[in-house]
Symmetry: C2
Subunit: 264 residues, 2 copies
Protein backbone atom coordinates (compact mmCIF):
# COMPACT_ATOMS: atom_id res chain seq x y z
CA UNK A 1 0.00 0.00 0.00
CA UNK A 2 1.26 3.42 -0.92
CA UNK A 3 0.88 5.41 2.27
CA UNK A 4 1.13 8.63 0.34
CA UNK A 5 -1.67 7.63 -1.94
CA UNK A 6 -4.54 9.92 -2.58
CA UNK A 7 -7.39 8.41 -0.64
CA UNK A 8 -10.08 9.07 -3.14
CA UNK A 9 -13.25 7.69 -1.67
CA UNK A 10 -16.05 6.88 -3.95
CA UNK A 11 -19.60 6.81 -2.79
CA UNK A 12 -21.76 4.44 -4.71
CA UNK A 13 -25.45 4.74 -4.71
CA UNK A 14 -26.20 3.11 -8.03
CA UNK A 15 -27.60 -0.38 -8.11
CA UNK A 16 -24.82 -2.91 -8.29
CA UNK A 17 -26.83 -5.72 -9.66
CA UNK A 18 -29.43 -4.67 -12.14
CA UNK A 19 -32.86 -6.12 -12.28
CA UNK A 20 -32.89 -7.67 -8.85
CA UNK A 21 -33.91 -4.75 -6.69
CA UNK A 22 -30.65 -5.22 -4.86
CA UNK A 23 -28.84 -1.98 -4.25
CA UNK A 24 -25.78 -2.43 -2.12
CA UNK A 25 -24.40 1.02 -1.51
CA UNK A 26 -20.76 0.66 -0.81
CA UNK A 27 -18.06 3.19 -0.20
CA UNK A 28 -14.78 1.71 -1.30
CA UNK A 29 -11.30 2.91 -0.72
CA UNK A 30 -8.37 2.26 -3.01
CA UNK A 31 -7.17 -0.99 -1.42
CA UNK A 32 -10.12 -3.21 -2.20
CA UNK A 33 -10.33 -5.63 -5.08
CA UNK A 34 -13.91 -5.52 -6.31
CA UNK A 35 -15.26 -8.44 -8.24
CA UNK A 36 -18.57 -8.95 -10.01
CA UNK A 37 -19.86 -12.56 -9.88
CA UNK A 38 -17.43 -15.48 -9.60
CA UNK A 39 -15.07 -17.26 -11.97
CA UNK A 40 -17.00 -20.44 -11.13
CA UNK A 41 -20.21 -18.95 -12.51
CA UNK A 42 -18.40 -17.80 -15.67
CA UNK A 43 -16.99 -21.32 -16.09
CA UNK A 44 -20.58 -22.63 -16.00
CA UNK A 45 -21.68 -20.29 -18.79
CA UNK A 46 -23.25 -17.41 -16.84
CA UNK A 47 -22.42 -14.82 -19.50
CA UNK A 48 -25.43 -12.57 -18.83
CA UNK A 49 -24.22 -9.15 -17.78
CA UNK A 50 -24.83 -8.45 -14.10
CA UNK A 51 -23.82 -4.81 -14.04
CA UNK A 52 -22.89 -2.19 -16.60
CA UNK A 53 -19.46 -0.73 -17.24
CA UNK A 54 -20.82 2.51 -15.80
CA UNK A 55 -21.79 0.73 -12.60
CA UNK A 56 -18.38 -0.95 -12.41
CA UNK A 57 -16.45 2.29 -12.93
CA UNK A 58 -16.71 3.57 -9.33
CA UNK A 59 -15.00 0.42 -8.03
CA UNK A 60 -11.70 0.87 -9.77
CA UNK A 61 -9.57 2.34 -12.54
CA UNK A 62 -7.66 -0.87 -13.35
CA UNK A 63 -8.78 -4.38 -14.07
CA UNK A 64 -9.97 -7.10 -16.35
CA UNK A 65 -13.00 -9.22 -17.17
CA UNK A 66 -15.31 -10.02 -20.04
CA UNK A 67 -18.52 -8.69 -21.58
CA UNK A 68 -22.16 -9.72 -22.02
CA UNK A 69 -22.37 -12.95 -24.03
CA UNK A 70 -18.59 -13.41 -23.61
CA UNK A 71 -18.07 -10.82 -26.35
CA UNK A 72 -14.34 -10.37 -25.94
CA UNK A 73 -11.77 -9.66 -23.26
CA UNK A 74 -12.19 -6.61 -21.04
CA UNK A 75 -9.24 -4.45 -20.00
CA UNK A 76 -9.36 -1.31 -17.86
CA UNK A 77 -6.28 0.93 -17.75
CA UNK A 78 -6.17 4.37 -16.11
CA UNK A 79 -9.95 4.36 -15.78
CA UNK A 80 -10.55 3.66 -19.47
CA UNK A 81 -12.33 0.47 -20.53
CA UNK A 82 -11.35 -1.46 -23.67
CA UNK A 83 -13.05 -4.37 -25.42
CA UNK A 84 -10.76 -6.79 -27.24
CA UNK A 85 -13.01 -8.68 -29.59
CA UNK A 86 -12.40 -12.04 -31.27
CA UNK A 87 -9.87 -10.84 -33.87
CA UNK A 88 -7.78 -9.13 -31.20
CA UNK A 89 -8.72 -5.58 -32.14
CA UNK A 90 -9.78 -3.07 -29.54
CA UNK A 91 -13.12 -1.27 -29.39
CA UNK A 92 -14.30 1.64 -27.30
CA UNK A 93 -16.70 0.60 -24.57
CA UNK A 94 -19.95 2.46 -23.88
CA UNK A 95 -20.91 2.75 -20.20
CA UNK A 96 -24.10 0.84 -20.98
CA UNK A 97 -22.30 -2.36 -21.97
CA UNK A 98 -22.88 -5.17 -19.49
CA UNK A 99 -20.34 -7.24 -17.60
CA UNK A 100 -20.86 -10.81 -16.38
CA UNK A 101 -17.50 -11.07 -14.60
CA UNK A 102 -14.82 -8.55 -13.77
CA UNK A 103 -12.21 -7.69 -11.17
CA UNK A 104 -11.12 -4.07 -10.68
CA UNK A 105 -9.31 -1.92 -8.14
CA UNK A 106 -7.86 1.54 -7.82
CA UNK A 107 -4.26 1.04 -8.81
CA UNK A 108 -1.51 2.42 -6.60
CA UNK A 109 2.21 2.10 -7.01
CA UNK A 110 3.20 0.22 -3.86
CA UNK A 111 6.39 -1.12 -5.41
CA UNK A 112 7.96 -0.50 -8.83
CA UNK A 113 10.99 -2.17 -10.38
CA UNK A 114 12.74 -1.95 -13.68
CA UNK A 115 13.14 -5.42 -15.08
CA UNK A 116 15.44 -5.77 -18.07
CA UNK A 117 15.78 -9.53 -18.31
CA UNK A 118 14.30 -11.63 -21.09
CA UNK A 119 11.96 -14.10 -19.42
CA UNK A 120 8.82 -15.96 -20.45
CA UNK A 121 5.47 -15.74 -18.66
CA UNK A 122 6.42 -18.33 -16.05
CA UNK A 123 9.72 -16.59 -15.41
CA UNK A 124 7.96 -13.24 -15.13
CA UNK A 125 5.46 -14.58 -12.61
CA UNK A 126 8.21 -16.24 -10.58
CA UNK A 127 10.09 -12.93 -10.50
CA UNK A 128 7.02 -10.95 -9.40
CA UNK A 129 6.54 -13.47 -6.58
CA UNK A 130 9.93 -12.42 -5.21
CA UNK A 131 8.62 -8.85 -4.89
CA UNK A 132 5.66 -9.87 -2.70
CA UNK A 133 5.52 -10.55 1.05
CA UNK A 134 3.54 -13.71 0.31
CA UNK A 135 0.78 -15.04 -1.88
CA UNK A 136 -2.19 -14.84 0.51
CA UNK A 137 -3.27 -11.27 -0.21
CA UNK A 138 -4.53 -9.91 -3.52
CA UNK A 139 -2.09 -8.04 -5.76
CA UNK A 140 -2.83 -5.90 -8.79
CA UNK A 141 0.11 -5.95 -11.19
CA UNK A 142 0.79 -3.56 -14.06
CA UNK A 143 3.66 -4.19 -16.47
CA UNK A 144 4.58 -1.54 -19.03
CA UNK A 145 7.31 -1.84 -21.59
CA UNK A 146 8.73 -3.90 -24.39
CA UNK A 147 8.01 -7.53 -25.13
CA UNK A 148 10.01 -9.41 -27.75
CA UNK A 149 7.09 -11.84 -27.89
CA UNK A 150 3.47 -11.68 -26.85
CA UNK A 151 0.74 -14.23 -27.47
CA UNK A 152 -2.83 -13.29 -26.65
CA UNK A 153 -6.25 -14.70 -27.31
CA UNK A 154 -9.78 -13.44 -27.38
CA UNK A 155 -13.08 -15.26 -27.24
CA UNK A 156 -16.07 -15.30 -29.59
CA UNK A 157 -19.48 -13.91 -28.65
CA UNK A 158 -21.77 -16.74 -27.59
CA UNK A 159 -25.45 -17.32 -28.26
CA UNK A 160 -27.94 -18.81 -25.83
CA UNK A 161 -28.13 -21.41 -24.48
CA UNK A 162 -24.60 -20.50 -23.39
CA UNK A 163 -22.02 -23.32 -23.36
CA UNK A 164 -19.55 -23.67 -20.50
CA UNK A 165 -16.35 -21.63 -20.79
CA UNK A 166 -14.22 -24.67 -21.56
CA UNK A 167 -16.32 -25.16 -24.72
CA UNK A 168 -16.51 -21.46 -25.60
CA UNK A 169 -12.72 -21.02 -25.60
CA UNK A 170 -12.33 -23.82 -28.16
CA UNK A 171 -13.19 -21.16 -30.75
CA UNK A 172 -10.77 -18.59 -29.34
CA UNK A 173 -8.52 -16.69 -31.76
CA UNK A 174 -4.85 -16.33 -30.98
CA UNK A 175 -2.72 -13.32 -31.89
CA UNK A 176 1.08 -13.26 -31.85
CA UNK A 177 3.18 -10.12 -31.63
CA UNK A 178 6.92 -9.67 -32.08
CA UNK A 179 8.76 -6.72 -30.52
CA UNK A 180 5.65 -5.03 -29.23
CA UNK A 181 5.31 -2.27 -26.67
CA UNK A 182 2.33 -2.28 -24.36
CA UNK A 183 0.77 -2.89 -20.98
CA UNK A 184 -0.05 -6.07 -19.12
CA UNK A 185 -2.92 -5.65 -16.65
CA UNK A 186 -3.51 -8.34 -14.10
CA UNK A 187 -3.97 -9.72 -10.64
CA UNK A 188 -2.40 -12.30 -8.42
CA UNK A 189 -5.14 -13.93 -6.33
CA UNK A 190 -4.48 -16.24 -3.36
CA UNK A 191 -4.68 -20.03 -3.74
CA UNK A 192 -7.70 -20.39 -1.43
CA UNK A 193 -9.80 -18.23 -3.77
CA UNK A 194 -10.38 -21.15 -6.18
CA UNK A 195 -13.99 -21.05 -7.37
CA UNK A 196 -14.27 -17.33 -6.54
CA UNK A 197 -11.54 -15.90 -8.78
CA UNK A 198 -8.47 -17.17 -10.63
CA UNK A 199 -5.80 -18.35 -8.16
CA UNK A 200 -2.35 -17.13 -9.15
CA UNK A 201 -1.70 -14.69 -11.97
CA UNK A 202 -4.18 -13.62 -14.65
CA UNK A 203 -3.12 -11.02 -17.23
CA UNK A 204 -4.68 -9.20 -20.15
CA UNK A 205 -2.58 -7.15 -22.59
CA UNK A 206 -3.02 -4.05 -24.73
CA UNK A 207 -0.40 -2.69 -27.09
CA UNK A 208 0.91 0.83 -26.60
CA UNK A 209 -1.55 2.33 -29.08
CA UNK A 210 -4.45 0.47 -27.43
CA UNK A 211 -5.37 -1.06 -30.79
CA UNK A 212 -4.76 -4.78 -30.20
CA UNK A 213 -4.45 -7.25 -27.35
CA UNK A 214 -6.27 -9.93 -25.38
CA UNK A 215 -5.87 -12.49 -22.61
CA UNK A 216 -2.15 -13.25 -22.20
CA UNK A 217 -1.17 -16.84 -23.03
CA UNK A 218 2.61 -16.34 -23.30
CA UNK A 219 5.15 -13.55 -23.50
CA UNK A 220 8.84 -12.73 -23.41
CA UNK A 221 9.82 -9.54 -21.64
CA UNK A 222 12.41 -7.24 -23.13
CA UNK A 223 12.71 -4.30 -20.76
CA UNK A 224 9.63 -3.60 -18.65
CA UNK A 225 8.58 -1.74 -15.53
CA UNK A 226 6.67 -3.90 -13.08
CA UNK A 227 4.40 -2.14 -10.60
CA UNK A 228 2.66 -3.99 -7.78
CA UNK A 229 -0.36 -2.81 -5.76
CA UNK A 230 -0.99 -4.80 -2.57
CA UNK A 231 -4.68 -5.21 -1.82
CA UNK A 232 -5.82 -6.71 1.50
CA UNK A 233 -9.55 -6.18 1.02
CA UNK A 234 -11.94 -7.95 -1.33
CA UNK A 235 -15.52 -7.01 -2.10
CA UNK A 236 -17.65 -9.40 -4.12
CA UNK A 237 -21.09 -8.71 -5.60
CA UNK A 238 -22.94 -11.91 -6.47
CA UNK A 239 -25.70 -12.04 -9.09
CA UNK A 240 -28.96 -12.83 -7.32
CA UNK A 241 -30.51 -14.40 -10.40
CA UNK A 242 -32.24 -17.77 -10.93
CA UNK A 243 -29.44 -18.77 -13.31
CA UNK A 244 -26.78 -18.17 -10.67
CA UNK A 245 -28.77 -19.41 -7.71
CA UNK A 246 -29.44 -22.78 -9.34
CA UNK A 247 -25.88 -23.51 -10.49
CA UNK A 248 -24.12 -26.55 -9.12
CA UNK A 249 -20.87 -24.75 -8.42
CA UNK A 250 -19.17 -27.09 -5.97
CA UNK A 251 -15.70 -26.08 -4.85
CA UNK A 252 -14.54 -24.95 -8.28
CA UNK A 253 -13.03 -26.59 -11.34
CA UNK A 254 -9.24 -26.29 -11.12
CA UNK A 255 -8.53 -28.41 -14.18
CA UNK A 256 -11.11 -26.70 -16.39
CA UNK A 257 -9.93 -23.30 -15.20
CA UNK A 258 -6.32 -24.10 -16.05
CA UNK A 259 -7.40 -25.15 -19.54
CA UNK A 260 -9.37 -21.91 -20.01
CA UNK A 261 -6.69 -19.61 -18.60
CA UNK A 262 -3.81 -21.19 -20.47
CA UNK A 263 -5.84 -21.58 -23.65
CA UNK A 264 -4.93 -25.23 -24.10
CA UNK B 1 -33.55 -8.80 1.01
CA UNK B 2 -36.19 -6.85 2.82
CA UNK B 3 -37.09 -4.07 0.40
CA UNK B 4 -38.68 -2.10 3.22
CA UNK B 5 -35.57 -2.32 5.24
CA UNK B 6 -34.05 0.72 6.77
CA UNK B 7 -30.99 1.40 4.70
CA UNK B 8 -28.70 2.40 7.50
CA UNK B 9 -25.41 3.23 5.93
CA UNK B 10 -22.39 3.18 8.06
CA UNK B 11 -19.32 5.12 7.21
CA UNK B 12 -16.15 3.56 8.45
CA UNK B 13 -13.02 5.50 8.79
CA UNK B 14 -11.33 3.48 11.49
CA UNK B 15 -8.44 1.26 10.60
CA UNK B 16 -9.66 -2.20 9.76
CA UNK B 17 -6.47 -3.99 10.29
CA UNK B 18 -4.44 -2.68 13.17
CA UNK B 19 -0.73 -2.27 13.11
CA UNK B 20 -0.32 -2.46 9.38
CA UNK B 21 -0.98 1.10 8.37
CA UNK B 22 -3.78 -0.27 6.21
CA UNK B 23 -6.95 1.76 6.52
CA UNK B 24 -9.62 0.61 4.13
CA UNK B 25 -12.48 3.03 4.55
CA UNK B 26 -15.59 1.24 3.50
CA UNK B 27 -19.19 2.26 3.48
CA UNK B 28 -21.28 -0.85 3.83
CA UNK B 29 -24.97 -1.31 3.41
CA UNK B 30 -27.02 -3.97 5.14
CA UNK B 31 -26.67 -6.71 2.54
CA UNK B 32 -22.98 -7.38 2.81
CA UNK B 33 -21.41 -10.18 4.80
CA UNK B 34 -18.23 -8.78 6.29
CA UNK B 35 -15.51 -11.16 7.30
CA UNK B 36 -12.22 -10.59 9.08
CA UNK B 37 -9.41 -12.93 7.93
CA UNK B 38 -10.18 -16.39 6.54
CA UNK B 39 -11.23 -19.71 8.05
CA UNK B 40 -8.13 -21.17 6.40
CA UNK B 41 -5.88 -18.86 8.43
CA UNK B 42 -7.75 -19.76 11.63
CA UNK B 43 -7.30 -23.46 10.82
CA UNK B 44 -3.54 -22.84 10.60
CA UNK B 45 -3.44 -21.25 14.07
CA UNK B 46 -3.57 -17.53 13.24
CA UNK B 47 -5.30 -16.61 16.52
CA UNK B 48 -3.77 -13.14 16.82
CA UNK B 49 -6.53 -10.56 16.83
CA UNK B 50 -6.62 -8.52 13.61
CA UNK B 51 -9.23 -5.98 14.61
CA UNK B 52 -11.05 -5.04 17.78
CA UNK B 53 -14.69 -5.65 18.58
CA UNK B 54 -15.16 -1.89 18.34
CA UNK B 55 -13.72 -1.90 14.82
CA UNK B 56 -15.94 -4.83 13.85
CA UNK B 57 -19.13 -3.23 15.18
CA UNK B 58 -19.77 -0.90 12.20
CA UNK B 59 -19.92 -3.91 9.85
CA UNK B 60 -22.89 -5.64 11.38
CA UNK B 61 -25.22 -6.29 14.29
CA UNK B 62 -25.32 -10.08 13.91
CA UNK B 63 -22.63 -12.70 13.57
CA UNK B 64 -20.11 -15.10 14.97
CA UNK B 65 -16.40 -15.67 15.32
CA UNK B 66 -13.76 -16.15 17.96
CA UNK B 67 -11.44 -14.04 20.10
CA UNK B 68 -7.72 -13.31 20.48
CA UNK B 69 -5.84 -16.51 21.38
CA UNK B 70 -8.98 -18.54 20.55
CA UNK B 71 -10.44 -17.50 23.90
CA UNK B 72 -13.97 -18.75 23.36
CA UNK B 73 -16.78 -18.55 20.83
CA UNK B 74 -18.02 -15.12 19.72
CA UNK B 75 -21.71 -14.40 19.20
CA UNK B 76 -23.25 -11.08 18.17
CA UNK B 77 -27.01 -10.64 18.51
CA UNK B 78 -28.86 -7.34 18.04
CA UNK B 79 -25.56 -5.47 18.03
CA UNK B 80 -24.41 -6.91 21.35
CA UNK B 81 -21.26 -9.04 21.50
CA UNK B 82 -20.96 -12.08 23.75
CA UNK B 83 -17.95 -14.23 24.64
CA UNK B 84 -18.68 -17.88 25.43
CA UNK B 85 -15.62 -19.12 27.24
CA UNK B 86 -14.44 -22.71 27.71
CA UNK B 87 -17.02 -23.72 30.35
CA UNK B 88 -19.89 -22.48 28.19
CA UNK B 89 -20.65 -19.40 30.28
CA UNK B 90 -21.10 -16.01 28.69
CA UNK B 91 -19.01 -12.91 29.40
CA UNK B 92 -19.53 -9.29 28.42
CA UNK B 93 -17.14 -8.15 25.69
CA UNK B 94 -15.22 -4.88 25.87
CA UNK B 95 -14.83 -3.04 22.56
CA UNK B 96 -11.06 -3.34 22.96
CA UNK B 97 -11.05 -7.16 22.75
CA UNK B 98 -9.42 -8.41 19.57
CA UNK B 99 -10.84 -10.74 16.93
CA UNK B 100 -8.78 -13.06 14.71
CA UNK B 101 -11.77 -14.30 12.67
CA UNK B 102 -15.39 -13.20 12.46
CA UNK B 103 -18.30 -12.90 10.06
CA UNK B 104 -21.00 -10.29 10.64
CA UNK B 105 -23.80 -8.56 8.77
CA UNK B 106 -26.74 -6.27 9.44
CA UNK B 107 -29.57 -8.70 9.94
CA UNK B 108 -32.83 -8.15 8.07
CA UNK B 109 -35.93 -10.29 8.04
CA UNK B 110 -36.17 -11.31 4.38
CA UNK B 111 -38.21 -14.41 5.19
CA UNK B 112 -39.60 -15.69 8.48
CA UNK B 113 -41.35 -18.97 9.16
CA UNK B 114 -42.75 -20.66 12.23
CA UNK B 115 -41.34 -24.16 12.42
CA UNK B 116 -42.95 -26.48 14.97
CA UNK B 117 -41.44 -29.80 13.97
CA UNK B 118 -38.94 -31.71 16.07
CA UNK B 119 -35.86 -32.13 13.90
CA UNK B 120 -32.16 -32.49 14.55
CA UNK B 121 -29.46 -30.18 13.19
CA UNK B 122 -29.28 -31.96 9.84
CA UNK B 123 -33.06 -31.85 9.51
CA UNK B 124 -33.11 -28.18 10.45
CA UNK B 125 -30.48 -27.34 7.84
CA UNK B 126 -32.29 -29.36 5.18
CA UNK B 127 -35.51 -27.47 5.99
CA UNK B 128 -33.83 -24.06 5.82
CA UNK B 129 -32.44 -25.03 2.40
CA UNK B 130 -36.04 -25.32 1.16
CA UNK B 131 -36.58 -21.66 2.08
CA UNK B 132 -33.69 -20.44 -0.08
CA UNK B 133 -33.53 -19.75 -3.82
CA UNK B 134 -30.24 -21.66 -3.96
CA UNK B 135 -27.03 -22.15 -2.09
CA UNK B 136 -24.71 -19.85 -4.04
CA UNK B 137 -25.37 -16.62 -2.15
CA UNK B 138 -24.64 -15.95 1.51
CA UNK B 139 -27.47 -16.24 4.02
CA UNK B 140 -27.58 -15.08 7.62
CA UNK B 141 -29.95 -17.26 9.64
CA UNK B 142 -31.44 -16.51 13.05
CA UNK B 143 -33.46 -19.13 14.89
CA UNK B 144 -35.30 -18.18 18.08
CA UNK B 145 -37.39 -20.53 20.20
CA UNK B 146 -37.42 -23.79 22.07
CA UNK B 147 -35.01 -26.65 21.69
CA UNK B 148 -35.66 -29.97 23.41
CA UNK B 149 -31.96 -30.66 23.02
CA UNK B 150 -28.93 -28.49 22.38
CA UNK B 151 -25.28 -29.51 22.38
CA UNK B 152 -22.65 -26.79 22.20
CA UNK B 153 -18.93 -26.56 22.64
CA UNK B 154 -16.42 -23.90 23.40
CA UNK B 155 -12.68 -23.79 22.95
CA UNK B 156 -9.80 -23.17 25.39
CA UNK B 157 -7.56 -20.12 25.22
CA UNK B 158 -4.29 -21.04 23.52
CA UNK B 159 -0.73 -20.00 24.25
CA UNK B 160 1.97 -19.29 21.69
CA UNK B 161 3.22 -20.94 19.62
CA UNK B 162 -0.39 -21.51 18.59
CA UNK B 163 -1.34 -25.02 17.46
CA UNK B 164 -3.58 -25.59 14.44
CA UNK B 165 -7.31 -25.50 15.11
CA UNK B 166 -7.70 -29.26 14.71
CA UNK B 167 -5.38 -29.65 17.72
CA UNK B 168 -6.88 -26.79 19.73
CA UNK B 169 -10.40 -28.21 19.56
CA UNK B 170 -9.22 -31.51 21.07
CA UNK B 171 -9.52 -29.73 24.42
CA UNK B 172 -12.97 -28.30 23.70
CA UNK B 173 -15.64 -28.54 26.40
CA UNK B 174 -19.10 -29.72 25.48
CA UNK B 175 -22.30 -28.52 27.12
CA UNK B 176 -25.67 -30.25 26.79
CA UNK B 177 -29.02 -28.56 27.39
CA UNK B 178 -32.49 -30.08 27.68
CA UNK B 179 -35.60 -28.04 26.98
CA UNK B 180 -33.79 -24.77 26.54
CA UNK B 181 -34.99 -21.52 25.00
CA UNK B 182 -32.55 -19.41 23.06
CA UNK B 183 -31.17 -18.12 19.80
CA UNK B 184 -29.11 -19.78 17.10
CA UNK B 185 -26.98 -17.30 15.14
CA UNK B 186 -25.43 -18.44 11.93
CA UNK B 187 -24.64 -18.28 8.27
CA UNK B 188 -24.98 -20.45 5.22
CA UNK B 189 -21.99 -19.86 2.95
CA UNK B 190 -21.73 -21.15 -0.63
CA UNK B 191 -19.74 -24.30 -1.45
CA UNK B 192 -17.11 -22.44 -3.50
CA UNK B 193 -16.09 -20.42 -0.44
CA UNK B 194 -14.01 -23.31 0.97
CA UNK B 195 -10.79 -21.91 2.41
CA UNK B 196 -12.34 -18.46 2.83
CA UNK B 197 -15.23 -19.25 5.17
CA UNK B 198 -17.19 -22.33 6.27
CA UNK B 199 -19.18 -23.78 3.34
CA UNK B 200 -22.72 -24.69 4.39
CA UNK B 201 -24.19 -23.87 7.79
CA UNK B 202 -22.28 -22.67 10.83
CA UNK B 203 -24.23 -21.83 14.02
CA UNK B 204 -23.47 -20.51 17.47
CA UNK B 205 -26.09 -20.58 20.27
CA UNK B 206 -26.98 -18.47 23.29
CA UNK B 207 -29.72 -19.33 25.74
CA UNK B 208 -32.57 -16.87 26.27
CA UNK B 209 -30.91 -15.26 29.30
CA UNK B 210 -27.62 -14.93 27.37
CA UNK B 211 -25.83 -16.82 30.14
CA UNK B 212 -24.65 -19.98 28.37
CA UNK B 213 -24.00 -21.27 24.88
CA UNK B 214 -21.32 -22.02 22.32
CA UNK B 215 -20.69 -23.45 18.87
CA UNK B 216 -23.63 -25.70 17.93
CA UNK B 217 -22.73 -29.39 17.51
CA UNK B 218 -26.26 -30.81 17.62
CA UNK B 219 -29.80 -29.77 18.48
CA UNK B 220 -33.44 -30.79 18.35
CA UNK B 221 -35.95 -28.06 17.59
CA UNK B 222 -39.19 -27.86 19.50
CA UNK B 223 -41.01 -24.81 18.17
CA UNK B 224 -38.81 -22.14 16.64
CA UNK B 225 -39.02 -19.13 14.37
CA UNK B 226 -36.52 -19.24 11.52
CA UNK B 227 -35.56 -15.93 9.93
CA UNK B 228 -33.40 -15.76 6.83
CA UNK B 229 -31.46 -12.75 5.53
CA UNK B 230 -30.23 -13.09 1.95
CA UNK B 231 -26.84 -11.47 1.38
CA UNK B 232 -25.40 -11.14 -2.14
CA UNK B 233 -22.34 -9.09 -1.19
CA UNK B 234 -19.22 -10.16 0.65
CA UNK B 235 -16.44 -7.95 1.95
CA UNK B 236 -13.30 -9.56 3.28
CA UNK B 237 -10.47 -7.84 5.17
CA UNK B 238 -7.28 -9.88 5.15
CA UNK B 239 -4.58 -9.53 7.80
CA UNK B 240 -1.48 -8.09 6.15
CA UNK B 241 0.88 -9.62 8.70
CA UNK B 242 4.03 -11.75 8.29
CA UNK B 243 2.20 -14.65 9.99
CA UNK B 244 -0.62 -14.57 7.46
CA UNK B 245 1.48 -13.72 4.43
CA UNK B 246 3.79 -16.68 4.97
CA UNK B 247 1.09 -19.34 5.55
CA UNK B 248 0.86 -22.24 3.14
CA UNK B 249 -2.91 -22.06 2.78
CA UNK B 250 -3.49 -24.02 -0.41
CA UNK B 251 -7.12 -24.45 -1.42
CA UNK B 252 -8.40 -25.14 2.09
CA UNK B 253 -8.68 -28.17 4.33
CA UNK B 254 -12.18 -29.64 3.91
CA UNK B 255 -11.57 -32.69 6.10
CA UNK B 256 -9.91 -30.75 8.91
CA UNK B 257 -12.64 -28.14 8.78
CA UNK B 258 -15.37 -30.76 9.03
CA UNK B 259 -13.65 -32.20 12.08
CA UNK B 260 -13.41 -28.75 13.71
CA UNK B 261 -16.95 -27.68 12.88
CA UNK B 262 -18.59 -30.91 13.93
CA UNK B 263 -16.38 -31.26 16.99
CA UNK B 264 -15.40 -34.83 16.21
Amino acid sequence: MNKNRLIALVVLTASLISGTGCSPAVRVDRDILFQASTIGALMKGIYEGQMTVGELRPYGDFGLGTFEALDGEMVEIDGKFYQVRLDGTVYAVPDSLKIPFAAVTFFDNDKAVNFDKQVDLNGLQAYIDTLLPGVNLFYAVRIDGKFSYMKTRSVPMQVKPYPPLTDAVKDQQVLEFKDVEGTMVGFRCPPYIEGVNVPGYHFHFLDKDRKQGGHVLECTTSGVIIVVDKTAGMLMALPDTPGFNKLNLGRGEPEGLKQVEQGK
